[in-house]
Amino acid sequence: MATETKSTFRGTPKQERELKKVIEKYKKIPGGLMPVLQEAQAIYGYLPVEVQKIIADGMGIHLSEVYGVATFYSQFSLTPKGEHIISVCLGTACYVKGADKILEAIEEELGIKSGECTADGMFSIEACRCLGACGLAPVMTVDGEVYGKCTPESAVEIIRSYMDKED
């Protein structure tokens, strides 16, 4: 069975103190799990198993319940975000122009799937809905920078240019 968190968790004691404060605040309130998950995501950037365990213990509920809610809403992420966030538009216009091929090429280049983060924490990939740049379809963004009229080859080139910047 696949686990969903790949990279190792690096939470700090300060983050944990903050989270515990949030839990204390919402513990007794019905429906308090939602705001706790939202604030936990704000503190850690994502919701790995370690964080969900702290929440389950703190709120006195089962981990399965926390996990169920965390996977129900798409606003929650179970994987960390990379330093560079690659976003491939799978909206209709981009899709008909072969956005899925672009996503595949990037996934292959980085060896991760959409929704995951590379082990070194450099890149994460996500698929997104229409960015409103249909004239440029197919479109991808890296850290918010828009790249239009992509091909699988040019997309890989763009990713590589970010790797080079790091060196």
Binding site: M1, A2, T3, E4, T5, V49, Q52, I61, H62, L63, S64, E65, V66, Y67, G68, T71, F72, L78
Partner: protein
């Protein structure tokens, strides 16, 4: 007294207490409304909509499993709109279902299959994409196959609300929704205790025990192995159900005959080591009191309960009786005393226990249950697995004559028989303890600890002192009792816990009865009735009076708690927190 409500169902007048649902009320009019997600005492969420009915004057159909009756209400359960809606619902469920009925464990005992037949379903009307899920085989007890799952949540409600384990939950949403353990790491990585209550709650073949049938057949056909079967107290009370016999039929004689027809095997009565457990346990309790050891003492015959303590309350391990369960005691007796007496190398003895329980599969594999590398019990199979072996061998069970258990391990007391019901171990122990402490105390029946309620308390005066006892079944109830003890709110001397609600008669390895049986009958009580009858009809009713137990001590174990008994019949536990 609750207010009574009058209504009509298909023009038939019925009168039911306020708060009754339409589904329950319809039974009075001899109508069973179909259901899937609803299961009495377990799950009532109104989500599958198979149970819809028309309420005259109300727009739209209502889910009868959650809809309470109202005065003057007119309900119609069989209109064209109702039939069409139910049919479409079932067709939609089937559109993503792996329809592999031929190779399904629930092949002819499936609620979905029955509905499909009853409603004349076209199984391919909505051809949906069938998602493929990996089958979860990560525990030795329970297998989960999401490809068969219809997301009724009966298992989740059982595990979360009844057992308070929370090993599984609903994950994701929409088309991707499915049941699983947190982070999809498999049941084996959770606090699952293997009780199998989720299995008996499931309407379809998405949950089943990890089968050990093949190993047993292999052993039976191995000329170098001597194979011994022994059956737990509750098997005779339920096995008949697998052969369409009425719930509550005692099939002990047919069961023994059938097992002997499987091959060259001996069949012993596990009730005997239930008696042995009682003698050891009563002795341990008396020792604990006189030497100021931790109290209350908790029973230890239920492996689901043991794992529950190890996972959640390891600080209570010193309070668990050190007695092995009857299953493990029997294995230990066979591989020591019996082998020695009959000149058998323990390696050549293959011991099969037939149990109402899936957690016992884990128990046989515990490190503590091996003696010099040899397992006390080689394999544990459930009531359901035994029935499949009998069917596979072509034995016509219902027409079999009776046979008695093989000697020397045939005779057992009535106290042992009632081990299979909640309160039974307590009552058996009280019979012996009362008699041991005060030779004139001949009390046999301890009625306050009987019955299927989840928590029972009683105080008995034994030898001049008041003895407070408590009995709980279902792990949610166990948790309540523990919390009351820990907070100092309650003080007991002796506490019996069984993981399954109602005890072993309702174990996770027992025949799966469909919702139409579980929703409308008292399954646990009817099954338990078989055991209490066997007890009251027999002459021997106290464990310590069993002559075979006396022989065992005279010839081998010397006395309860003595060195050999301690080494072979007692065990230790480990924190798994």
């Amino acid at each position: 007294m609750k207010k009574m409500i009058n209504l009509t169902i298909n023009n038939i007048p019925v009168c039911v207490p306020e708060g009754t649902t339409i589904l329950q009320a319809a039974k009075q009019a001899n109508i069973e409304i179909p259901s899937l997600c609803y299961l009495k005492d377990v799950n009532c969420i109104g989500s599958c909509r198979v149970c819809v009915v028309e309420v005259v004057g109300r727009r739209g159909l209502v889910a009868s499993c959650v809809y309470p009756v109202e005065e003057g209400m007119k309900v119609l359960t069989n209109t064209p709109a109702v039939r069409k809606s139910r049919k479409t619902t079932i067709e939609l469920i089937l559109s993503t279902h792996h329809k592999k009925c031929l190779s399904c464990v629930r092949g002819n005992n499936c609620e979905l299959q029955k509905l499909s037949y009853d409603y004349g379903i076209d199984e391919d009307r909505f051809k949906g994409e069938e998602p493929i899920y990996e089958i979860d085989k990560s525990t030795p007890c329970v297998v989960r196959d999401n490809n068969k799952c219809i997301n009724c949540l009966r298992c989740v409600a059982t595990c979360n609300n009844i057992q308070t384990i929370g090993a599984i939950g609903q994950i994701r949403r929409g088309f991707d929704v499915h049941i699983g353990s947190p982070f999809e790491t498999g049941l084996g990585t959770t606090d699952c205790v293997g009780c199998g209550q989720c299995i008996v709650a499931c309407p379809v073949g998405a949950l089943y025990e990890k089968s050990n049938i093949d190993e047993v057949w292999d052993a039976i056909s191995d000329p170098n192995k001597k194979v011994i079967f022994f059956t737990a107290p509750s098997i005779a009370a339920t096995l008949g159900e697998c052969f369409s016999m009425p719930v509550g039929t005692n099939v002990e004689g047919k069961m023994v005959t059938a097992i002997k027809m499987l091959g060259d095997v001996e069949v012993f009565n596990m009730n005997l080591t239930a008696d042995l457990t009682i003698v050891e346990e009563a002795n341990e309790l008396i020792q604990r009191v006189s030497t100021a050891k931790p109290l209350p003492m908790f029973t230890s015959c239920c492996p689901g309960w043991i794992q529950f303590v190890e996972h959640n309350y390891p600080e209570l391990i010193p309070n668990l009786s050190s007695c092995k369960s009857p299953q493990q005691m029997f294995g230990a007796v066979l591989k020591s005393y019996y082998c020695q007496k009959n000149n058998i190398d323990p390696k050549d003895l293959y011991v099969v226990s037939v149990i109402p329980c899936t957690a016992k599969k884990f128990e046989t594999a515990r490190d503590e249950m091996y003696n010099q590398g040899i397992a006390d019990v080689d394999v544990a199979i459930t009531t359901r697995e035994l029935s499949r072996m009998i069917k596979g061998a072509g034995i016509t069970f219902t027409s079999l004559p009776d046979t008695e258990f093989d000697s020397p391990f045939a005779l057992a007391s009535g106290a042992a028989a009632i081990f299979g019901a909640t309160g039974g171990v307590m009552e058996a122990a009280l019979r012996t303890a009362a008699n041991l402490l005060d030779g004139t105390n001949e009390k046999v029946e301890f009625m306050d600890v009987r019955g299927t309620s989840g928590i029972k308390e009683a105080t008995y005066r034994i030898n001049g002192t008041d003895v407070d006892v408590c009995v709980a079944s279902g792990l949610g109830n166990a948790r309540k009792v523990i919390e009351m003890i820990k907070s100092g709110q309650k003080k007991y001397l002796f506490v019996e816990i069984m993981a399954c609600p109602g005890g072993c008669v309702n174990g996770g390895g027992q025949p799966v009865q469909s919702d139409s049986v579980r929703n409308y009958t008292e399954l646990k009580a009817t099954r338990a009735g078989v055991l209490y009858n066997a007890d009251s009809e027999g002459e021997l009713r106290k464990s310590h009076e069993n002559p075979i137990i006396k022989t065992l001590y005279d010839e081998y174990f010397e006395a309860p708690g003595k060195a050999k008994a301690h080494a072979l019949l007692h065990t230790t536990y480990q924190s798994r927190k």
